[in-house]
């Protein structure tokens, strides 16, 4: 058999053990720290000095509990004064059932124990659903079995799993109970003594009742003697219609330091005086202790001093009237308590000033900059008036009209809301925009098509003019007419070439550049042939031929083979065709800088280019071109490398006007242009040539073209005059 019991779980352990083998708690308990046992007087301990070190939330919870207890005690004292309870008839150990039944833990009770609750009235009338539900079903004294059944519903503490083992504090009274077993009258009235009632087979309950029966009667005030078989009498003393005050309403009679089972703590809150006579001996010790004096808690002066309550605690419901709220208010952590003031103050503010408008927010500068201009400009009412709707006066939408729907329930989805944004444009910009709009509108308007009659007449006119020119030229060529004489004198531009020809040394190297297209080869060859023929026949220069056009070298060969065939110039011996000079102006400059490097060819070894290594070695440069740009490029890029040597340009008639400025600035030494200058050179040389074959035809067609242009101009003048006269007459008539 075990020699010692665990002070924690009460299980027997060997004497030499220091730690409980069941709950692993220390078996050596300090006397001062040991929990109080029944029959011992608890020693009140002062823990006020420990208050400051408690957490804030715990201090608030304790404060709330004290205040709730004070209020509960006050109400209970008031209720007791109004309705004094019959103290003699209620067994005090059953009185606790009422308070237990009033608790919200009713669902946790077994079904068979609910009928034992004698509470007749709820503590709070407005919460009748929390009152003891089976009170009206109990038939006191009518049926023994019913009454016993009701007794059997007395709640018990959870028994250890060992079942039959007595609790330690019960075993401590074991000896005393056995000694007083023979003193029947002194035993408290219990329904289990006569064996008429079989206690439920919970084991622990049976032992507990036996232990309770073995306790000696209370010595102070022995109750009235009860017979051993007077179970009915005992039951008859039970209160029938007396309301048992709620346990929560008498917290002053309960000391928290007593180590009682939880289910019995509410019973201790009953008024002790109500059951002094029938109080068992083991519970009589409770009466000896000093009644709990509720601390005088002064009401808080302001709302700020109240402890923080959880958010889910109703503000209107006092915490002292609901024991469950006491529990929640005590066990709530501080983080929940901190939430409460925020949520409880907001509705209070709303209730205090429901009509107060929303305070305007402070907008950042960039948000203010995004607000419409109309809100900034006071003199822009047009935009505001254009949009209907309420004008927002506060908030981010201040100044906007019609942005928010002013009718609460009716909103038409999909209907666009007009905005007050308008482009800020000046009057001139608006005029330009309107002009642009008119131009665009004019482009989209259909235009009447040109009449087919006019188009047909123009085509016929073109055919007629072409036929006239071709027929006239053919007639002149086929007729071999020489009606028109050749020019007797050279033009002022071409006459400048004569001194150059006279000054050129014999057999001097000259450079001839063929930069014209085949389309104008007839004109260029006719214009250049007399001049070149005179040059070749007069000075017999060594000619170097090149071209910046890919077709130029072929045209040069054709020129020497046909136009100046009379001079019998031989390629390689008398002239050298270097070919195509690539690179455009860059190639020209490169050739002017270093001819042999710019145009590498074996032809540089020919006798015609002997002694030519630099551009300035050429005695003269003759350019045959039909484009003014080509002449300009040669003038610009070779001016610094010619060393004063002449540049003679034989140009087409269409390029001559653009080359004239270079002739006047003496950048070009002489200019031979068109068929007319060729005819003049041919006439001056008296050697004949191709120009004579063309000259009549050229002059006939040119005269015809001049006459046609003059006739056309005169026709347009007359037609315009008639049109203006007709319009004037029509306007005059109208």
């Amino acid at each position: 058999m075990a020699d010692q019991f665990c002070p924690n779980c009460g299980m027997p352990n060997a004497e030499e053990q220091e730690v409980c083998s069941f709950c692993q708690q220390s078996l050596r308990v300090d006397a001062g720290a040991a929990s109080i046992r029944p029959g011992e007087t608890p020693t009140r301990k002062t823990t006020a000095e420990l208050e400051p070190i408690l957490p804030a939330w715990l201090r608030d919870a304790r404060e709330t509990a004290r205040r709730a207890d004070a209020e509960t005690a006050a109400e209970e004292a008031r209720a007791a004064a109004e309705n004094p309870a019959p103290k003699e008839e209620v067994p005090d150990f059953l009185a606790g059932l009422a308070s237990a039944a009033r608790d919200d833990q009713d669902d946790e009770l077994p079904e068979w124990m609910r009928g034992a609750a004698p509470s007749s009235a709820p503590a709070k009338p407005d919460k009748e659903e929390q009152a003891f539900p089976r009170r009206s079903e109990i038939r006191w004294g009518d049926d023994q079995s019913d009454e016993l059944g009701g007794m059997a519903t007395t709640p018990v503490t959870p028994a250890p799993e060992s079942g039959d083992a007595l609790l330690p504090w019960m075993q401590a009274r074991d000896g005393a109970a056995s000694d007083s077993a023979g003193r029947e009258p002194s035993q408290p009235v219990t329904p289990f003594l006569n064996g008429a009632v079989e206690p439920p087979h919970t084991g622990e309950l049976t032992d507990w009742l036996e232990q309770a029966a073995a306790q000696p009667a209370a010595p102070a005030e022995p109750s009235a003697p009860a017979s051993e078989e007077s179970l009915d009498d005992w039951l008859s003393k039970l209160p029938r219609d007396v309301e048992i005050p709620a346990a929560s309403e008498s917290p002053a009679s309960f000391d928290e330091t007593i180590d009682l089972p939880d289910w019995m703590k509410p019973a201790a809150t009953e008024e002790v005086s109500a059951a002094d006579a029938e109080l068992p001996d083991w519970m009589a010790s409770f009466r000896e202790q000093k009644p709990f004096a509720p601390p005088e808690v002064s009401p808080p002066e302001s709302a700020e001093q109240l402890p923080a309550a959880p958010a889910f605690v109703p503000e209107a419901e006092p915490a002292a009237e609901t024991p469950a709220n006491d529990l929640f208010s005590i066990e709530m952590p501080d983080w929940l308590s901190n939430i409460a003031p925020v949520e409880t103050e907001a509705p209070a503010a709303d209730e205090a000033a429901p009509d107060q408008p929303i305070a305007p927010a402070e907008l950042p500068s960039w948000v203010q900059a995004m607000r419409p201009v109309e809100t900034v400009l006071p003199d822009a009412p047009s935009a505001q008036a254009a949009v209907e709707g309420p004008l927002e006066e506060a908030g981010p939408l201040a100044g906007l009209r019609g942005v928010l729907p002013f009718v609460g329930g009716i909103v038409q989805p999909g209907k666009p809301v007009g905005q007050s944004f308008r482009l800020q444009a000046s009057q001139s910009q608006q005029e330009d925009a309107s002009l642009l709009g008119q131009l665009i509108a004019a482009e989209t308007q259909p235009k009447p098509l040109r009449g087919a009659r006019l188009f047909r007449s123009q085509r016929v006119l073109r055919w007629v003019l072409s036929a006239l020119l071709i027929l006239l030229a053919s007639a002149a060529i086929l007729g071999r007419t020489q009606i028109v004489p050749l020019p007797a004198a050279l033009s002022p531009e071409s006459v400048l070439a004569l001194p150059i020809l006279e000054s050129l040394p014999n057999d001097a190297p000259i450079l001839m550049i063929f930069d014209y297209d085949p389309a104008l080869s007839g004109e260029l060859e006719a214009a250049a042939a007399p001049f070149v023929d005179r040059l070749l026949g007069l000075r017999s220069p060594r000619v170097t031929v090149l071209s910046t056009s890919p077709i130029g070298p072929a045209l040069a060969e054709r020129f020497f083979a046909a136009s100046v065939a009379r001079q019998n110039y031989r390629p390689g011996q008398d002239y050298v065709n270097l070919g195509y000079l690539p690179g455009g102006e860059t190639g020209i400059l490169s050739f002017a800088v270093n001819p042999r490097a710019a145009l590498p060819s074996r032809s540089w070894d020919a006798p015609a280019v002997q002694g030519v290594s630099r551009f300035s070695d050429y005695a003269a440069v003759i350019l045959l071109t039909d484009q003014a740009e080509t002449a300009r490029a040669w003038v610009e890029q070779t001016a610094a490398h010619r060393a004063g040597h002449p540049l003679i340009v034989v140009a087409s008639a269409q390029a001559a006007p653009m080359i004239q400025p270079y002739l006047l600035s003496r950048q070009v030494s002489a200019l031979v242009s068109g068929l007319r200058d060729g005819a003049a050179f041919e006439a001056s040389s008296e050697t004949g040539g191709p120009v004579r074959k063309y000259w009549d035809a050229y002059n006939f067609t040119l005269t015809l073209a001049v006459l046609l242009m003059a006739f056309g101009g005169l026709w347009n003048l007359i037609a315009g005059a008639r049109s203006r006269r007709g319009s004037d007459e029509a306007r005059h008539e109208s």
Binding site: A655, T701, A705
Partner: protein, 223 residues
């Protein structure tokens, strides 16, 4: 058959095809144009191969000294990069070569224009007003001054005609100043005369080509 006769007949037929444009755009004209473009392109390709690539690149790479060959790698690489313009994906690689060509060409053109055209032409425009030099050269100064004055007025008036700056009048209308308006009108006259002279030259050149072509057509048949 004489090659000259064959070329003459071909030339005659192609000339008639081109002249058929007088009756409107037709297949003969387009055929002649396509033949001309094709022959010209082929001819240019042959010229570029035989007169540019071979003498400027291939032959030096095969026969030139090593230093010169190394220098020739630069134009070779640039030329290869230039070929990348054929592919749209690789055309970006041809950018450096094109940039080099454009940059060098622009530099040469600008330098030549400033030194070869602008400065000499400004000096030539002021020369008729140099009376001492004219007398020294034996030129009548009055005639030279008149010519110079005409050229100066023509130049200023033409520049004024192409000046489009104006001010807004009080009534909202936009007009140039009176002096600018007068010079602009005179400049318009000079511009018209210049364009007339250019048109006369172009027409004269065209008539010369027409007469030469008609003569060549008849010359084939012995006329």
């Amino acid at each position: 058959m004489n090659p000259e006769l064959i070329s003459g007949i071909v030339g005659f037929i192609l000339t008639l095809m081109i002249l058929s444009y007088l009756i409107g755009d037709n297949a003969l004209f387009r055929f002649a144009v396509h033949v001309f473009v094709g022959v010209s392109a082929g001819y240019v390709a042959v010229i570029a191969l035989y007169q540019v690539i071979l003498p400027y690149l291939v032959v030096p790479l095969m026969s030139a000294p090593m230093l010169e060959r190394g220098l020739l790698l630069i134009p070779l690489i640039l030329g290869v990069l230039m070929l990348m313009n054929i592919s749209p994906r690789l055309s970006r690689l041809g950018g450096p070569a094109v940039g080099y060509l454009v940059g060098a060409g622009a530099a040469v053109a600008v330098g030549g224009a400033v030194l070869g055209t602008i400065l000499p032409q400004v000096g030539a425009a002021a020369e008729p007003f140099n009376i001492a030099a004219l007398i020294q050269r034996g030129v009548n100064p009055i005639e030279s001054l008149l010519n110079g004055a005409v050229m100066l007025v023509g130049a200023v008036a033409t520049l004024a005609y192409f000046h489009f700056g104006a001010r807004r009048a009080e009534d909202g209308s936009v007009k140039r100043g009176f002096l600018f308006e007068a010079f602009a009108w005179l400049g318009k006259l000079f511009v018209a005369l210049t364009l007339g002279a250019l048109f006369a030259g172009v027409y004269s050149a065209a008539l010369s080509a027409l007469v030469e072509r008609v003569h060549s057509l008849f010359s084939i048949f012995g006329f």
